[in-house]
Amino acid sequence: MPRLAFLLIACAALVPGTTLERLTLEQMAEKATAIVRGRVVGSSTSTWNSIISTTYTVAVAETLKGPDTQTVQVSVPGGVAGGVRHSFPGTPDLASGDEYVFFLWTGKSGRTQIIGLSQGVFQLQADAKGSPSVLRSASTETMLDPATGAVITDTPIRMPYSELARRVRNALEGRAAR
């Protein structure tokens, strides 16, 4: 399959000029050092490398990837310190008391951040039947209507939490989710 290899090689070395890395759910699962479901219970701000950051304390209810832990500290750019506010469009707005699924990445510094900022955050809500579902605020994938094959709009959709967890497990086990 020389031509396939041709393009695959091309993709690996592709695209002079790319500043963006769009990640699928499966890619986020692979790159994450931890994937947790938890509730925000507190926050504080500090200055890190000239940037004001907010550190959220998350009480972990379930760990999908990574070491089991009761809490995790998640750093997000933005916040108020010393009368100065840094705000970053695209960073998640995490409300205390709300529950989320986080795709986290801990770097060598030990600081834990969210993968792709908002890409790695799913808000957990109860659906009409009271079952937990995640709200996916953005999609990086073209989605087709299974019935018609037509492209459907790239609007936020809900996904049962169980479905997200299944896709994460499949990704971690090296199987395609779809």
């Binding site: 695209v15 500043t19 890395e21 100065v84 970053f88 469009p89 695209g90 900022l117 492209v151």
Partner: protein, 870 residues
Amino acid sequence: MTRIKRTLVGVIAALCLAVAAFAHFPYLHYITADGVLRPAPEKFDLSALVDRRLPYVVSDQGPVSWAPNDSFPALLSQIRRAADAWNQVPTSELRLAFGGLYSPETLQASPRIEVLFDELPPGLIAMAGPVVRAEPVTGPDGAFVPIQRSILVLPREVEWRPSYSEGFFLTVVHELGHALGLQHTLTSSVMSTAYTRATTSAKPLADDDVAGISLLYPTPGYSSTVGSITGRVTLSDRGVHLASVVALSVDGRSVSTLTLPDGTYRMEGVPPGNYYVYTHTLPPAMQAGFGPADVVLPVDMATGQPVGAPETFEMQFYPGSRDLASATAVTVQAGQRTEGVNFAVQPRGYLMLFGVATYSFPGSVAVKPAFINPFGGRRFLVASGFGLAWSNAPAPGLNVTVMGDPAAVSVAAVRPYEPARAFVQIDFNFGETPGTGARHLVMTSDYDRYVLPAGLRLVDRQPPAILSASAEQDEAGAPLVRISGSDLSAETQILFDGALGAVRSFNSETGEMTVAPPPGGSGHVANLVALGADGQSSLFLTSQPPTYVYPGADAPIVNVKPAALPSGASAMVEIEGVNTSFDPRHARVGFGSSDVVVRRTWFVAPNRILANVQVSPAAPLGQMPFSLMAGLQFAAQPYAFSITAAEPERPSISPDAFNPVTNHRSLYPGGPVRLMVGNLPEDIGISDILVFLNGQPATVVVYEPGRVTTQIPADASQGAAIVEVEARGRRSFPVVLNIDPPPAAILEVLDSSGVLVSAENRARPGDTLRIRIAGVDPGAAELAPQRFRLVVGGLVHEASQTARMEGEPLRFELLFPLSSVLPEGDSLAATLYFDGRPSPPFMLPVVPPPPPPSEPEVPEEPTGPGEPAP
């Protein structure tokens, strides 16, 4: 919120995650005036910058991991090259200046861009934008929000994206654009997101980028060189906010803008020409917290809330057409506004075709944007995008056309790309003369329409390739690199990492060139990249460029004297180097703080630089590093320089000295110079003031408060001259003045008949003046006419001819055709400029314009019989 509102509020925006893009559009605030939301962009206040130069300082806490053959000096050279890309926009008045490396402990007060490195999570490549702003002010171009500080964050681990890669360089150019106040565009320019960007390392900026930066920081007269298009986008008679309006020319240009809340738009910075104009909906946001197309929504300053929520509508070409074939081009003229380009659009539910990227295969590696050589390369490109392919096939009804002459370039077929059917392959037919340059692609499917500006770039040769590079020396023993390759030309540039080599020779038969490398550190491994004039680069063919290893040498050491200056000081510093060979083409010094600005440098010896620096009066006291970057050679001294407490009683000389006769900054031997001196006692007199030029006393000719006029000795050498002022025993810091060659000496002014122009023989409008001069370029066989200008009554005249006077080898005659319409007056002030340096002005007697003809007398109506005479 009150206290926070009063303090500086910062927003970092434009995280480089977004797929979709945005017109050339600044970060915008809406100020309510007279009940109307009026836009106020965020931008740096040029009047607050010394010499309109914005310092960018780079953190000394650099990346921690590198790709093979990559290094911090290499990365710095790429950052500097990216800054130079914006500096080379001639219609932008702002200039980025390397401010050196800074330490986290360094306190800085003056406006700046800080480049720092941080641990970025996967999915985030870089981020940049304004951080700290001041309250809105009104400038000559209207209200704006002054940016005080921008930051640019790059990853600390760059092994997966080496600094010599196109991706890294264009990322930095893009992020610097954000730091300067530009948001994303949708025109495939560098300010487009990487997905649709169609610029390259060889040509990083497109027309929309030039328009964007020029509109934020225009040079005087910029608006007279470009035109504008205005109109309104409505839907059911309501104005549509944030509708994208794009102007496309057939020769590949594109400029854009977004509409205001009432649907009106004013697309400025459009180069003269004919354009097809269309409007389209911004694609949906890909990230929570962003507006559509991941734009940072404008903010209503009255409420602090974003203003957004545009509607989705059908794309439309002007006037009112869904098809390009039915569209009508509008003409844009310099300094003119093309009005009434309105759109009454129709709603639609959602977009089904957007965010398309195109790739081509000049070699075995796919590159973006798509470059196609009809005469020797693959004649197809591959495209991907939302809604482009359905179920591994092109979207139903997908059709692609190339804007322009179909006989030159047309689409032969649209089909699945077999190795990966999620991509679409577009095959092309080319005529005998397809031309070169960017071409816009118009895509339609059964469900939507989409235009990709510059989706295709035609070239007439393959990308340049470097096959070998060998070290040599010239006759003087200076290093050279002999480069052999393919598709090289005399216009090919050779990069050593981010620094340009100087091409010494090119052999068109063998394709070989010899290049003098820029300065580099001992053992530095520089990655060699060839840049073609057509925008292609050798990186299109390989991601592993050849290298050049600098010979071993002792490490450079630099020292700066004095090692401390008080805040508010204007002074000369002396930089001495050991194991250095300073090259003015490459060397830049920085003090690691935006509060110490280098205004001008003189390279007086290979190991000695003189520089005028300005210390901000608001500079915090403390120590800072000093650094010098010369090509790929880098030297730094931590804590080498200090800012001390202000000395308000010490005389201070501004380097902005000028010739009071010509009112120009060009100073010359024997001419006068007026020094602007601060901190002088109010009761001081001329006898209390001493002036020293190069250590020798100079006569003070005139003293007025704050102004000291002296004479430059007639035997003064050209170049740097050090001046000091002493008043009542207090001596100023030295400042460097530049002594230019003397201006042209005007011997006589004749009319075209060779008769001396005088009160009795006045110059006539439309006649040709013959000006005889001496004192310029002795020994030159000819002087190019372009070096001369004659300004008469404010009107600029170009020389049509220059010639050495027969029998007088040191004298020249210049011919200046006078304008046929001169200002009123029988004697007009005239100044001759040679290489921009004015000669003393003189009065030119001219024939005054004739008086306007008087109104003809209207004969009276004859009266009839019986009527009394009036």
